[in-house]
């Protein structure tokens, strides 16, 4: 039958992206691009005070502003039973609009609805709010004292939110005491913000039958639908959530924000569509921040460098509401990955979180929940231990790595690492960067007093939440899903519960399906983000798309193939058992000449299916049996100017192992992007608050993100250790470079400064901090 010999594999091919033609022509479809007849604009009134009672709100002047249609306040929402919204892990609730008092600067106080963007802004200016300032708690250590109770609305009259721990405390303490070498270091992973270039926003509208259509910048549209139903009481079938093109998310677009609720309420109350697009300042000051972990890291080791114990105690600053988007049972996310790539016989990790008068959040910024913090702690800690031991940090890592024959590896803190080859990945990196030559160069430079540093990070991530027995959000288990429909002429449409924000799903999902079915990926349309059409899924964050939705997709494709096999048997006039799938075609076993293509089968599924079920489609829900554990070996080479403190990243090599690679071009692009954000976190990005609770980094002139000028040239390479439980062996990669690189950068700078006796430097490693570290170290040397 078939004479088509052109079908080729689609997996591992650097296929150009299918979504790009619309983006390069300005034909993207972002939320702010939408416009509907009669649409109103919403602007929010925000608090200038970090902590204050609200004595009164006067909206009368605002209502006189031409174009202003309505103003709502917290009292209005409270009266409607919409005063508070649940946070995703269900441990707290957050005010939609301030009720009685404000708890952080820029908190939402009132919403103004108007005929134009300008009128809404004018109306917001005209709302008069009387504040009585209250004492401000601007750090978790002050909060801990409970002298000022920030959340009297909660049952527990304390600022302490939760205590979480894992591991054996007593055994770890004993092992630390007995250890021949021991290090202890306080590390602060500072508060930063993902700052996707497209701010958050939405358009809410009710149709003539009272059904809500909600376009929103959401990384998890199905969860939004359920959350909106739970908050507003609108039955879920009356809610249609659409995530159109999203201009970057990086975790920032996972939580449900107060502005969304206000827009929905406004649309319902006024009976017209309402658009709300936050400004950059609103984005940086009120939506999900990340990190803000103060970590005390202790490692014990034998004199030969064999590690014996790890203990990490963390004080976490969660801001005014516990809005961290962590799975219910994991308030500190996957922090238990803190033992990293090493075989610790015992370990203990604990996190205590506190309220402060700062913006709420604690989202997973381009990482699986709290994995970046954990990776930084262990990778920085290992370097400090190497320094203490007088040992090459590479040698220390080699000595303590989990060996490839130990996989699946049960970590002492409870994870089962699926697969890996840490030694190999490190060796590839050392070879490629020319480690020995760099060490020689460094020794020569040091002899001349020049400061050159080499920083290593050999991290292990845990991604792809997750097995439903462990992970849920708002009670919804963290499975994912995929649906495939193959049309009569051999093209098709694919939908998943994930949602691309730049990851390139329109291309990679098509490649997976094309590979499994022997079809042309150019004719596989991928559609995501519409809750009316896509199967239920938990969305895209925590590198979970490929491990969950990607797996569901491969399995759905295999279901399609099994249905197709029956039709192929009918076409080939043999029993089903005599048909095999080979070289992307069905053929009669042992008779390659007798074959049919999937395209031919697809046509037959609608025109000549014999006794078989017509049509060719499948849906698959997938509950992963385990997480996936991507890993990598990163090496940074820096030169530090002794007089100015300027750090120049001369080289950076990332060797990633993310299992099977679907599209090497996209993987490389993701690694470049993640490294740039890791570079930003290490050297530039920080949301600072002064002691009075004022946010000091409220726009892109104060919150520095790297431009093309600062960003280094990135070198990349890969090893491939497939995940044993993933249908195609893929693990996910988008976040690895952001997780693994900050420690490599900081390790490199500290290594450069180590001849001066510098042992640690806090992020962001600014020129100023480096200069002070050099000055202080030299002054100390001068004294001794």
């Amino acid at each position: 039958m078939s004479t088509d010999t052109t079908i080729k594999g689609s997996l591992g091919v650097p296929m150009k992206r299918k979504e790009d033609p619309r983006f390069i022509q300005g034909k993207g479809n972002y939320v702010d691009d939408l416009s509907f007849p009669g649409m109103l604009y919403m602007a929010l009134v925000r608090s200038p005070y970090p902590h204050a009672e609200i004595a009164g709100i006067d909206i009368s002047e605002a209502m006189k502003v031409p174009g202003v249609v309505a103003v709502i306040t917290g009292k209005d929402l409270e009266a409607a039973g919409l005063g508070w919204l649940p946070t995703f892990h269900g441990l707290d609730k957050q005010m939609v609009l301030a009720i009685g008092k404000v708890l952080f600067q820029y908190q939402e106080v009132a919403a103004v609805f108007a005929e134009s963007r300008g009128a809404a802004a004018d109306g917001a200016e005209a709302v008069q709010v009387d504040y009585n300032p209250l004492p401000v708690v601007a750090d978790p250590f002050t909060s801990k004292k409970d002298e000022v109770l920030l959340r009297p609305d909660r049952e527990a009259k304390t600022n302490h939110i939760y205590h979480w721990e894992v591991g054996d405390r007593d055994r770890t303490d004993q092992a630390l005491q007995a250890s021949e070498k021991r290090i202890r270091q306080r590390m602060w992973f500072p508060r930063c913000h993902p700052a996707p270039l497209e701010p958050c926003g939405c358009v809410a509208q009710f149709d003539k039958m009272g059904r809500l259509h909600f376009h929103v910048t959401s990384q998890a549209p199905h969860v939004y639908r359920t959350a909106v139903s739970l908050v507003t009481g609108i039955p879920e079938d009356k809610i249609h959530v659409i995530s159109p093109d999203i201009g970057g998310g990086f975790g920032n677009k996972v939580p449900v924000y107060p502005g969304y609720v206000c827009a929905i309420v406004g649309a319902l109350k006024i009976g017209r569509p309402v658009k709300w697009i936050e400004s950059r300042t609103e984005n940086l000051t009120s939506t999900g921040f990340a990190r803000d972990y103060h970590m005390d890291v202790e490692i014990g080791a034998k004199a030969d460098g064999t590690v014996t114990a790890l203990k990490v105690s963390t004080t976490a600053d969660h801001g005014a509401f516990d809005a961290a988007a962590d799975p219910s049972k994991y308030p500190a996310g996957m922090f238990g990955i803190v033992t990293g790539s090493y075989t610790f016989p015992t370990a203990h990790a604990e996190v205590d979180a506190f309220f402060t008068n700062k913006a709420p959040g604690g989202i997973a910024y381009r990482c699986s929940f709290r994995v970046t913090e954990a990776s930084f702690a262990i990778e920085r800690g290992m370097d400090i231990l190497a320094d203490e031991l007088g040992m090459d940090p590479v040698e220390l890592r080699r000595k303590n790595f989990v060996k490839k024959e130990q996989f699946p590896f049960p970590s002492v803190l409870g994870f089962t690492y699926d697969s890996g080859d840490y030694h190999k990945t490190l060796e590839v990196a050392l070879e490629k960067i020319g480690y020995q030559a760099l060490l020689k160069e460094q020794a020569e430079k040091r002899a001349k007093g020049e400061l050159m540093g080499i920083g290593i990070s050999t991290f292990t991530e845990v991604v792809g939440a997750g097995p439903s027995k462990h992970f849920d959000i708002l009670g919804i288990k963290m499975f994912d899903s995929a649906e495939i429909r193959i049309h009569p002429t051999g093209s098709g449409i694919v939908r998943t519960g994930a949602k691309s924000q730049g990851q390139g799903h329109e291309t990679t999902w098509a490649q997976i399906v094309a590979e499994e079915l022997g079809l042309d990926p150019q004719n596989i349309l991928v559609e995501e983000g519409d809750t009316d059409t896509a199967p239920y899924g938990l969305g895209t964050y925590a590198s979970r798309s490929t491990p969950t939705a990607g797996a569901a997709l491969a399995m759905a494709a295999r279901r399609v193939r099994e249905r197709a096999r029956k039709i192929a048997a009918h076409l080939l006039e043999v029993g089903e058992g005599d048909v095999e799938w080979k070289d992307y075609k069905f053929q009669v076993k042992g008779v390659p000449a007798k074959s049919v293509t999937m395209k031919e089968v697809a046509f037959a599924a609608y025109t000549n299916m014999g006794q078989n079920e017509p049509g060719l489609e499948a849906t698959q829900y997938y509950d992963p049996p385990n997480m996936t554990f991507p890993h990598g070996a990163y090496i940074a080479v820096v030169d530090v100017d002794r007089d100015t403190g300027e750090v120049k990243v001369r080289r950076f090599l990332a060797v990633d192992d993310c299992g099977t690679i679907i599209n090497p071009m996209i993987v490389e692009g993701q690694v470049h992007g993640g490294l740039t954000e890791g570079f930003a976190i290490a050297f530039m990005q920080e949301i600072q608050y002064d002691k009075d609770g004022n946010n000091l980094n409220t726009n892109f002139t104060d919150y520095l993100v790297p431009t093309s000028l600062e960003t280094p040239h990135w070198e990349t390479a890969h090893t491939v250790t497939p995940s044993p439980h993933h249908p195609i062996g893929a693990k996910g990669v988008g976040e690895s470079p952001n997780v693994g690189s900050p420690a490599a950068f900081v390790n490199a700078v500290v290594d450069a400064l180590s001849p001066l006796g510098v042992r640690h430097i806090e992020m962001p490693v600014t020129r100023d901090k480096v200069w002070r570290a050099i000055r202080d170290a030299e002054a100390k040397k001068g004294q001794s």
């Binding site: 983006f23 400004s279 892109f700 990135w714």
Partner: protein, 160 residues
């Protein structure tokens, strides 16, 4: 107030509020939503358009009134007769975009750069693009894309 601005070869006569920014004039009055807004401080460059043939301007930092009587080229005007502009082709070929939000601004800044400097070095490209932020790509591939486009345009100087 009335403004008359030629955008992508089409004359737009509109009555706008004096405070209307050029970016919102393009997006909301002309319906050309390819020009994006990503910040409030003229920092991100998502809104860059080309004025009078070769000048890259941030449309969020200009009033529509300031463009009165001028010609504006936006990302929607780059492709001609269904054929992608060499810059668009190069961004696609070199994987110079991911979420796509910064892309229109990157393209328009690069367009103006190549008008002034047809054969820029990597350093010159990076310097010129320093007013355009990208959170996804890490810039390496964007630089490659601009270089590819420069080569294509030099090989076929008749192309726009």
């Amino acid at each position: 107030m009335k403004v008359s601005i030629k955008v992508n070869g089409v004359q737009y006569e509109k009555d706008v509020e004096p405070r209307t920014l050029l970016a919102y004039f393009l997006r909301e009055d002309c319906g050309l939503t390819g020009t994006h807004v990503g910040c409030d401080t003229s920092s991100c460059g998502c809104c860059v358009v080309v004025m009078d043939g070769d000048r890259a301007v941030k449309a969020c930092t200009m009033f529509a009134a300031q463009a009165d009587g001028h010609e504006i080229l936006t990302v929607e005007g780059l492709a001609q007769g269904g054929a992608l502009h060499p810059l668009q082709q190069a961004f696609w070929d070199q994987h110079g975009l991911q979420c796509g939000y910064c892309t229109p601004g990157m393209l328009m800044t690069s367009y103006a750069l190549l008008k002034h400097k047809p054969n820029p070095s990597d350093g010159e490209i990076r310097e010129e693009l320093a007013g355009n932020l990208c959170r996804c790509t890490g810039y390496n591939n964007i630089v490659k894309a601009v270089r590819q486009a420069a080569e294509t345009l030099q090989a076929a100087p008749a192309t726009k």
